[in-house]
């Protein structure tokens, strides 16, 4: 197991290096730099030069890359140009917000989608299946930002039950923090439910066709036992892969929902930093996202043998 983890992590090194190279090159390929954006229409070439010098932008791009990578190797992600804060500190402040929402949404989605997918497979081609399939098609068709806007309109604007924006950490305000998470978590969960349900349904249908299920039924086991004991564990493997991918995707791409609900998460930080050409923050965030993908997939791979004993690491 340990050797497998080490092997996987060492495989991630070239991936992460290529990501750093791409990220660094791509952000600099976008026209404009933070100094000129900060000055806007202010006509002061002397100040512009001073700013470029202080941000290290007057050096050649390869030199900037070497400096960035050498700092990275010592654990220094650099300093935000626009916010004048260490990048790692910014990520440390914003990532928990994103993680809180994404993990809560994923947990909630699994809680609903796994039984729903199993039920739909069991009811294949009957009304119950149709309802689940139609429901998941509908949910997957709703973009999370649109769901967010609808939720804001209903619960914030019309019913005045929940705040439409903002965030307060649990550590500061306790359970009041929950109030800010309800709508974004629901908005994210809806799309996730659809994806996980469809996968769970498909893999459960496959399992239900296998001989050992027929054998279990022939033995006289109850349908409940057939489903929970023999179908669920075997069908969950492929679903777990999808959950891992969805989780990685959400952790990386929460920008839209964070913007709609004004949450100070990492996605919003990344988008704002792209607009302001805050190179160190963009590079830092994208690097963390790449690492998250690698780690999420690694965790999924490590969990796989639990659900499918045929697989060995």
């Amino acid at each position: 197991m340990l050797s497998y983890i080490i092997k996987r992590l060492s495989m991630a090194v070239p991936t992460v290096f290529i990501v750093t190279l791409l990220v660094f090159g791509m952000i600099r390929a976008i026209p404009g730099d933070p100094a000129s954006l900060m000055l806007g229409d202010l006509n002061d070439p002397v100040l512009l030069q001073q700013m470029r010098h202080s941000f290290g932008l007057d050096q050649s791009i390869p030199a900037q890359f070497v400096i960035w990578v050498s700092h990275l190797l010592s654990g220094d992600f650099g300093m935000s140009i626009v916010r004048h804060q260490p990048v790692l500190e910014l990520i440390r402040e914003t990532f928990p917000v994103t993680a809180e929402i994404v993990l809560a949404a994923t947990f909630l989605a699994c809680l609903i989608a796994i039984p729903a997918g199993l039920f739909a497979a069991w009811m294949q081609n009957r009304r119950g299946d149709l309802a689940v399939v139609m429901g998941s098609i509908m949910l997957v068709s709703i973009p999370s930002f649109w769901a967010g806007i609808l939720l804001i309109w209903l619960f914030g604007v019309k019913l005045h039950l929940l705040p439409t924006f903002g965030y307060q950490p649990f550590s500061q305000v306790g359970w009041a923090s929950f109030k800010y998470l309800v709508l974004p978590v629901i908005a994210v969960t809806l799309g996730e439910i659809a994806v996980v349900t469809r996968m769970m349904r498909a893999s459960s249908i496959e399992v239900l066709r296998l001989e050992y299920i027929a054998h279990a039924r022939a033995k006289g086991l109850s349908e409940r036992r057939v489903l929970l004991r023999h179908t669920l564990p075997n069908a969950f493997g492929p679903t777990l892969t999808v959950i891992g991918l969805v989780l990685g995707h959400l952790l990386a791409g929460g920008a839209v929902i964070e913007t709609v609900f004004t949450l100070p998460g990492m996605g919003r930080l990344l988008v704002e930093s792209i607009y302001s050409r805050d190179y160190p923050v963009v590079q830092g965030c994208l690097l963390v996202i790449a690492l998250l993908y690698v780690l999420t997939n690694l965790v999924v791979d490590l969990l796989y043998p639990i659900f499918d004993p045929r697989l060995k690491l």
């Binding site: 976008i30 026209p31 404009g32 730099d33 000129s36 954006l37 900060m38 000055l39 806007g40 229409d41 202010l42 006509n43 002061d44 070439p45 002397v46 100040l47 001073q50 700013m51 626009v82 916010r83 004048h84 804060q85 402040e93 914003t94 806007i149 804001i152 309109w153 619960f155 914030g156 604007v157 019913l159 005045h160 039950l161 929940l162 705040p163 439409t164 924006f165 903002g166 965030y167 307060q168 500061q172 305000v173 359970w175 009041a176 929950f178 109030k179 800010y180 309800v182 913007t259 709609v260 609900f261 004004t262 100070p264 919003r268 930080l269 704002e272 607009y275 302001s276 050409r277």
Partner: protein, 542 residues
């Protein structure tokens, strides 16, 4: 025709069970929602110990400030807006951009225009309770002039964008003297620039190591709390000693009557929904993003000072011919475009002097008038053969995009082929600064004196590609009023510059973008001013 099926006893029982289940589910859902709603509104709602008696005004801003230091290189528009309520300078800007006393009661200018002697107010204290003296003026000036302060307007005082300040002396605690290397009509104006005021700060704004902490100023509000990326909280300064003149711009009487929370809400739709749900009280809006009218709020509109302009690259092979540029200016009904883009809230103003300025004259009001026969004649004379021009714009600022769409359509009708190129704002700023465009729908930020605007527009493109207008005579004319303080003489020069610019057509100025604020009916005392910064003194909330 459908025949109703009479329910059997079993069905009825099942329905009752179902109804009970639905009702209990409904009850549970409602209880859940109410339980969540019953949680404390937010950490923000907890009354602050500093100012428990005041109501709280919540003002939505598009992005958080990135610094709390006035005029720091990291500043953005909202930094200026927040700090305009916190810090003060020796003088202040009035609504018409004229200068009024603030921390200085009066000042004398030596006959040669090189020495400014300020007589300071008595009884003013900083937010930390220490008294304000001339030593603080000198300390603040010295701090801003250090490169490590990151003060964006050092050039206004070190000689490269204005006069050089040779010395700042403090003959007594109530007097401070600035000595300049040459007379400057804009010395006092520079002190009031909203983006980089020469704010008078207490040394307590820094820590022991000289690192910036927060602004400890003399303004009506204290910079109380800053949660980065989320909000800034200002609380009323109990010991604030207001001036007695009528309020105007940032000058005159200022009375803080509420806590003010600047809440960062980047998405405009989210701002509107927050206003509709009562979570914010105010927000800036643009002409194109006005939400539907509602009895709970109203729009406060006033003239602005940010010129919306249609730039033409005079070094482009085609646009280098002034006849082509003139044809473009005469091809379009410009007042109609302004009216359509602004929804009737802005007026056509072809001058770089905003029409709300005290220096605006009847001569500035002369603009281009649509003349299609003249357009045909000019195009034919210039040998225009239907070449397509590229008009660059962005979607971030809707008025720029809308102007571009109207201009493209109307120019095409007049026989001038134009294609739109929509780019991201950062790319457009880059193209503006490097001069890589043919036509551009652009918006300048407000300058507080026409000389500053003309100064940023005029120049030599081979040395500085972001300037738009190359005319040595115009530059010389502008320089001729460097030391002229007489408003009548300055007005005359600005009028001449306007006429020269109309002849050269390096750009078409369309209008001054109006200052629009959406305000909850619970607020009283909100006013606009051309520079667009929201001031919260004298504003109350019911």
């Amino acid at each position: 025709m459908a025949i109703p099926v009479s329910p059997t006893p079993r069905r009825l029982a099942a329905r009752r069970v179902g109804n009970r289940r639905i009702q209990s589910m409904k009850r549970a859902a409602m209880a859940g929602a109410l339980a969540i709603a019953a949680l404390p509104a937010s950490g923000w709602a907890q009354p602050s110990a500093a100012a428990p008696a005041f109501p709280e005004i919540r003002f939505a801003i598009n992005t958080d400030t990135t610094t709390s230091m006035p005029g720091n290189v990291l500043r953005n528009t909202f930094t200026d807006e927040i700090l305009a309520n916190v810090v003060e300078s020796l003088v202040a800007l009035k609504s018409d951009s004229s200068i009024a006393p603030m921390l200085a009661d009066s000042w004398d200018i030596s006959p040669d225009g090189k020495q400014y002697t300020f007589h300071l107010r008595h009884g003013v204290v900083f937010h930390n309770g220490t008294p304000f003296t001339s030593a603080d003026v000198k300390w603040s000036y010295d701090y801003f002039m250090k490169p490590q302060s990151g003060y964006v307007c050092r050039g206004n005082y070190d000689g490269h964008r204005g006069p050089k300040v040779l010395a700042v002396t403090t003959p007594d605690p109530r007097t401070v003297v600035f000595e300049l290397d040459r007379p400057s009509a804009l010395f006092l104006t520079h002190m009031t620039e909203p983006r980089c005021p020469l704010a008078i700060l207490s040394p307590a704004s820094l820590d022991k190591n000289g690192t910036w902490l927060k602004p400890v100023g003399t303004g009506p509000f204290i910079f109380s709390e800053w949660k980065q990326g989320q909000y800034v909280l200002l609380t009323p300064f109990a010991q604030y000693r207001s001036r007695t003149e009528p309020p105007s711009g940032l000058a005159g009487a200022k009375h803080p009557r509420a806590n003010v929370r600047f809440v960062a809400v980047p998405d405009e739709a989210a701002q509107v929904s927050a206003l509709m749900s009562g979570q914010i009280d105010m927000m800036h809006i643009s002409e194109n993003t006005r939400p539907p009218s509602d009895p709970h709020w109203h729009v406060i509109a006033g003239p602005g000072a940010d010129p919306a302009a249609f730039l033409m690259q005079t070094r482009d092979p085609l646009l280098a011919d002034v006849r082509i540029r003139r044809a473009i200016a005469l091809a379009v009904d410009l007042p109609g475009v302004v009216n359509a883009v602004s929804g009737g809230l802005a007026r056509y103003n072809s001058s770089l002097t905003p029409d709300a300025e005290a220096l605006y004259t009847a001569g500035d009001a002369v603009g281009y008038k649509q003349n299609l026969p003249e357009v045909k004649r000019l195009l034919a004379a210039a040998g225009y053969a239907g070449q397509t021009l590229t008009l660059e714009t962005n979607r971030r600022y809707v008025h720029m995009y809308s102007s571009a769409v109207y201009m493209q359509s109307l120019l095409s009708q007049a026989g001038i082929k134009v294609k739109l190129q929509v780019v991201e704002w950062g790319t457009q700023v880059n193209d503006f600064r490097s001069g890589h465009f043919q036509l551009m729908s652009f918006g300048y930020s407000a300058r507080i004196e026409p000389a500053l605007m003309y100064g940023d527009v005029l120049g030599d493109k081979s040395k500085n590609p972001m300037v738009q207008w190359e005319n040595p005579k115009a530059r010389a004319l502008l320089r001729s009023i460097d030391g002229v303080t007489d408003p009548a003489a300055r007005k005359q020069v600005f009028e001449q510059l306007h006429q020269m610019m109309m002849d050269d057509v390096p750009m078409i100025v369309l209008n001054d973008t109006p200052d629009l604020t959406l305000v909850s009916n619970r607020l009283q005392g909100v006013t606009t001013w051309p520079l667009g910064l929201q001031r919260f003194f004298n504003v109350t909330k019911n």
